[in-house]
Symmetry: C2
């Protein structure tokens, strides 16, 4: 089996277009007719990204939210989505209900797609198309040495929600119905130097931003807002699915939305991250690796 | 299990956008910044749309070609594609080779996408984005009574290619490497009243065009060009995968590309099709129904 990383590396070699950043991570940005179009495609697999026992309405919501979060990180507003749907379950109606709810919430119309039967497990694909509201469109690669590092809100809520769902007790909402921060992304786009959404865990995603920008990010763990009890702080920094925005901006910038300063941008060192002064790299298991 | 048709009908109810024609059939058309964007998404499932034993390079080619053919029917030129890919096979490299070849052939860069592991069968999704070269963008719904009906080239080659592949003897190319007629679509766009690609069989797709345009299409079977021996004419009219263009235009129009006049557009009658004068409807099994 080809590993995902080598497959993506090979894909990148055939992707000659400068917009081809969007392979398994960043959204693609295309100039068209005086607009900048933002394109993202996410796939969720039953049994891998969600359990067959989950409410399909929640799965549909998450499918939409993950893509909307990619648009949020680009300061884009949704134009619409295309759905790839494998029919096979008795509860397609629940999926439709969640899809309708999510699309209405994000004001993202369904433009088209394809439905197929016969797949042995459900595989859901969603393409989201957005229009950038500010250019240059924020990317992961623009962090400047001396900038401050921010996160838009607390981490760990999705982790607690997942555990509540697993255990059948407690508040599951944050895990089941994540919110993509489209408004915040649009407000931040004009002043950030780099931005991305935290989908795979703060540390892992911060390392990606550091690599893309060729910098080291110094994070002070105690300044990261969390919703978990304090003893679980480091777990919260490694859990994904919260869809907060992670961004860098000049330390002097007046932010238009509430955000938490969690660190600073340093010249590139031996590791992409310094957590409380200690070097950390992907080998340290920073978060949820894409499967 | 929800049937595909009822699922699509339900999807259409939540798809409030006027561009939402593209559910399992037509591509979506969106106006953006003075351009018309054409968007299409097709899904291929291993064991349903192709066999696990097929060369993945051919599967990749077909995945690209089916989407490019949707663009061709809109007179659009490709801007790029997004890929949803389930990693799991030992021959991902072959897939990549075919993908690179097809994308180079159609000058459609890979813009992004998502790769995932762990799916029990391969499910491939491709979103193609194109730019309309002529507006109004051709649709299925514009056929006018009195127009002539045309097909761009012969049918049946894919059927023979499939049989050759199945039997291990003969020319398999037309089935393995279908050609999307992008150049022909662009040349025809300014003068057609309705256009679509023949992906599910001439009769079935013609019935769809008839429904969309609220007309009846009279087809003279002997005038349809086929590559099969004469006794298999009616099979050729029901087989898909040839990706020829089916279109209507004023009978007086001088066509910029070679095409075959196969019938005419009549006022709507009791059936969407008249084949050699006999009414035919979908109940007669017109071709390859989407699965």
């Amino acid at each position: 089996m080809t590993s995902e990383l080598s497959f993506i590396a090979a894909l990148r070699r055939i992707a000659m277009h400068p917009a081809a950043r969007g392979l398994a991570d960043d959204a693609a940005v295309l100039s068209l007719g005086g607009e900048a179009l933002v394109l993202t495609h996410d796939v969720l697999v039953e049994g891998v990204h969600y359990l067959a026992s989950q409410d399909p309405a929640d799965v549909a919501w998450k499918l939409v939210a993950t893509n909307m979060s990619d648009l949020a990180a680009k300061g884009a507003e949704p134009i619409g989505v295309l759905l790839g749907y494998t029919l096979q379950r008795d509860d397609d109606e629940r999926f439709l209900a969640g899809l309708a709810e999510a699309l209405a919430h994000y004001r993202a119309p369904l433009l088209g797609g394809d439905t197929v039967s016969g797949a042995p497990a459900q595989v859901l694909g969603l393409t989201a198309i957005g229009r950038a509201t500010y250019r240059p469109v924020p990317s992961r690669s623009g962090a400047r040495i001396g900038d401050a590092l921010y996160v838009s809100g607390p981490l760990g809520a999705a982790m607690l929600g997942y555990e509540a769902l697993r255990d059948g007790a407690g508040d599951t909402l944050a895990y089941r119905r994540p919110r993509a921060l489209l408004g915040e992304g649009r407000a931040l786009a004009p002043l950030v130097s780099a931005m991305m959404d935290v989908s795979d865990g703060l540390l892992l995603d911060a390392a990606r931003l550091a690599h893309a920008s060729d910098v080291t990010l110094a994070i002070e763990s105690s300044t990261v807002p969390i919703t978990t009890p304090e003893p679980r702080r480091y777990e919260a920094l490694r859990w994904g699915d919260d869809y907060q925005l992670l961004f860098t901006a000049p330390a002097s910038a007046a932010l238009p939305v509430k955000a938490h300063r969690i660190g600073e941008v340093l010249a590139p060192g031996p590791a992409p991250l310094l957590l409380d002064g200690a070097p950390l790299s992907e080998a340290d298991g920073l978060g949820y690796e894409h499967r």
